[in-house]
């Protein structure tokens, strides 16, 4: 079938062919904050994709832009922050330019979200049952009784004992770990295709963190839900993610299969990041072995954003900005992997 067969077909929205396309495709995303002293660019030309059912880990220092990337996808950037460029596709159709009401219908239904703090994510004045039921009836065609049935099933599924009784309890009657389970149940209400989990365990007791991550992993595997898992914990990434994206100063430094990136990190920043993990499972691994700190948004250097801290920096890094360069299954934004440099070196 050639394009000539349907010369007059005008697609209502920008769509992509359906054949084995990624579930989520982010292209050249730019997020900016207009301020009195000029525009701050917090996300600068970020591209990545997530396949159906896949777990993509996102790591990076505090302020790297992980949360903003997640918020951009679900259309919940807080003003004055705004998407200043790029495109986001869900299942091949563009979602970043949808009117607010259309985007709202996608949130919770197609893309669920889990935030860091389970203690404050639930409205203290309503029973967890009410919050579950309202989410279910918002997105699914169910009456109150059916929604309540589903809510109880969901609570059971996330491992809350005696869900028939617990459904009428208020958030303050649950422990932190239990509350995060309720939050996960809320994110799963409408069986979304993708869940964005922004540091879902950081606020929890260390002993409970592993349980919650295991639960999230199991549920998403069972439901075929893809996950964008934002975390500081490389141990969690190693155990849970299929691929990992390393962010630095609003850009992606390296993205590739987890084993590959952990065993054979390519980007000097990733190498430092891996070197700073004493052992898997230790939380909040920081860049202990790389001197200096990530630049502030108003002082991001020319060329490669990492160049002031990079042990392998060379002249080109200070003037030209590297884009993601494919290296086998991985892609890395570092001039060391440019073919020209390889020839030269």
């Amino acid at each position: 079938m050639s394009a000539m067969d349907h010369p007059t077909v005008i697609l209502p929205r920008e769509t992509r062919p359906r054949a084995n396309q990624p579930l989520l495709q982010v292209e050249n995303l730019v997020v900016e904050f207009p301020t009195r002293r000029g525009v701050l660019r917090a996300i600068d030309d970020v591209s990545f994709h997530i396949d159906p059912g896949e777990v993509l880990g996102v790591v990076g220092e505090s302020g790297a832009g992980k949360s903003l990337t997640g918020a951009s996808i679900i259309g919940l950037l807080e003003p004055p922050g705004r998407i200043a460029g790029g495109r986001i596709f869900l299942d091949g159709s563009r979602i970043d330019d949808l009117p607010p009401e259309k985007l709202r219908r996608i949130r919770g239904k197609q893309i669920g979200a889990i935030f860091q703090d389970p203690l404050t994510s639930l409205n203290p004045l309503y029973s967890v049952g009410r919050q579950l039921v309202e989410t279910i009836t918002t997105h699914l065609d169910m009456n109150q009784a059916e929604a309540r049935r589903r809510a109880i099933d969901l609570l059971a599924e996330v491992g809350i004992p005696a869900p028939e009784r617990r459904i009428d309890h208020y958030p303050h009657q649950f422990s932190g770990g239990m509350r995060q389970r309720v939050v996960i149940a809320l994110a799963l209400c409408a069986n979304p295709r993708l869940i964005i989990a922004d540091e879902p365990t950081t606020a929890l007791d260390v002993s409970i963190q592993a349980q919650i991550i295991a639960l999230l992993k199991r549920l998403c595997r069972d439901h075929g839900t893809a996950v964008m898992l934002i975390t500081h914990d490389m141990g969690v990434i190693a155990e849970t993610a299929d691929r990992v994206a390393v962010m630095y100063a609003g850009r992606i430094a390296e993205v590739g299969p987890v084993r590959q990136v952990i065993k054979h990190a390519l980007h000097p920043y990733t190498v430092g990041l891996m070197g700073s993990i004493p052992s898997v499972g230790v939380d909040r691994a920081r860049l202990a072995q790389i001197d200096g700190a990530m630049p502030r948004l108003n002082a991001i250097p020319e060329g490669c954003a990492f160049n002031p801290r990079c042990p392998k920096v060379f002249d080109r890094c200070r003037v030209e900005r590297p884009d993601l360069i494919p290296q086998g299954p991985t892609a890395v934004s570092c001039w060391l992997y440019d073919r020209k440099e390889a020839r030269r070196g």
């Binding site: 679900i74 919940l76 709202r104 219908r105 996608i106 949130r107 919770g108 239904k109 669920g112 979200a113 935030f115 703090d117 404050t120 994510s121 639930l122 409205n123 203290p124 004045l125 309503y126 029973s127 309202e134 989410t135 918002t138 997105h139 004992p161 617990r166 309890h169 208020y170 303050h172 009657q173 649950f174 422990s175 770990g177 239990m178 939050v183 809320l186 994110a187 209400c189 409408a190």
Partner: protein, 330 residues
């Protein structure tokens, strides 16, 4: 629940005893009650006899106990000025004040809360800014000036509404209401607006501030992430959380309305307790003053009690002692 109410009631009784003590003290410090009864030219013997007849020769605590016992039964003696039983005088004036206060409270809540929600949601809207600027006027102008301005515009210049009095009232049992007659309702409008304006702007600003606060919370962000409608988020989730602190302030404000009513009643010659109280002060009519004091204090206490109960109904965390023990498990 029962323990909670009982605790509150105990506190209320203590507050009332304290206020009663002050009201009682007034008899001894504001003028000489005996002289008030028998006049300046009585002989010392007459004076002593009157003291004994009034029980003033007895020890202080006996007098206070008797005062409190009488007060509890609504017995405050006779007005020096009017020569009528104080309880009867105040009962006659009570409906006027309460109807005025109720109307003012209704205005301030029915106007203040929606305006607060609106200006909280549409933070940068033009209309919001207009409301906020306007509310500054309501907060900064003194009540009597607002009353006089309203009279000037709506009574004197436009001639639409009466400038004083309560209009025609009809008795409903021992209560006399102005709500059922046209002239009563028309007379109510200006004083109710005058009395309610300050509270309206206050409630509006309070609700707005709380709303802005609540809209920033994580559970509102999460509610957005769940894809709930704006309506459900603003009115289902945000407003209810906003009301928790606002209810307390509103309770206090309604108590304040009763006190502020003195000024409004004076400006509009509204035949309520406030006007009566002001006249009582001029004549050092101590029984009326002390009875007014106790009555107002009692209303404050009752309103606070109602607020506490409302709080209890709104916030499940206060109901914790019932469910949590059973519910708390990991």
């Amino acid at each position: 629940m029962a323990a909670y109410i009982l605790r509150r009631l105990m506190q209320a009784v203590i507050v009332m005893l304290a206020v009663g003590f002050i009201a009682f003290g007034m008899f001894n410090f504001v003028g000489d009650p005996v002289t008030n009864f028998i006049g300046q030219d009585a002989t010392p013997e007459d004076h002593e006899r009157m003291r004994a007849a009034l029980g003033l020769d007895q020890p202080f605590y006996v007098q206070y106990a008797r005062f409190a016992a009488n007060a509890a039964q609504g017995e405050f003696g006779t007005s020096y000025r009017l020569g009528m039983k104080v309880s009867a005088v105040l009962a006659e004036r009570l409906p006027a004040t309460l109807e005025l206060v109720f109307a003012a409270a209704a205005i301030s809540i029915l106007v203040g809360v929606p305006l607060g929600v609106y200006t909280g949601i549409h933070r940068y809207g033009l209309l919001s800014r207009a409301f906020l600027t306007f509310s500054l006027v309501g907060i900064s102008l003194p009540t009597f000036l607002i009353g006089i301005l309203l009279i000037l515009v709506f009574s004197v210049i436009l001639g639409w509404l009466p400038s004083f009095g309560r209009g025609q009232v009809v008795p409903v049992g021992w209560w006399s209401t102005g709500y059922l007659t046209q002239s009563g309702l028309r007379s109510l409008i200006l004083p109710a607006i005058t009395l309610g304006l300050f509270q309206t702007t206050l409630i509006m600003r309070l609700v707005r501030a709380e709303m802005l606060e609540v809209l920033r919370t994580d559970y509102i962000k999460f509610a957005r992430a769940r894809g709930l409608t704006e309506r459900a988020i603003n009115f289902g989730h945000a407003l209810k959380n906003t009301m928790v602190p606002v209810i307390t302030i509103m309770g206090l404000q309604i108590g304040g309305l009763i006190a502020f009513a003195i000024i409004t009643e004076t400006v509009f010659q509204w035949p309520g307790m406030g006007l009566l109280f002001l006249q009582a002060i001029q004549y050092a009519d101590v029984p009326v003053m002390s009875c007014y004091l106790i009555l107002v204090a009692m209303m404050f206490v009752l309103i606070n009690l109602a607020v506490d109960l409302l709080y209890y109904a709104v916030d499940p965390r206060l109901r914790a002692d019932r469910g949590a023990v059973r519910g708390r498990q990991v």
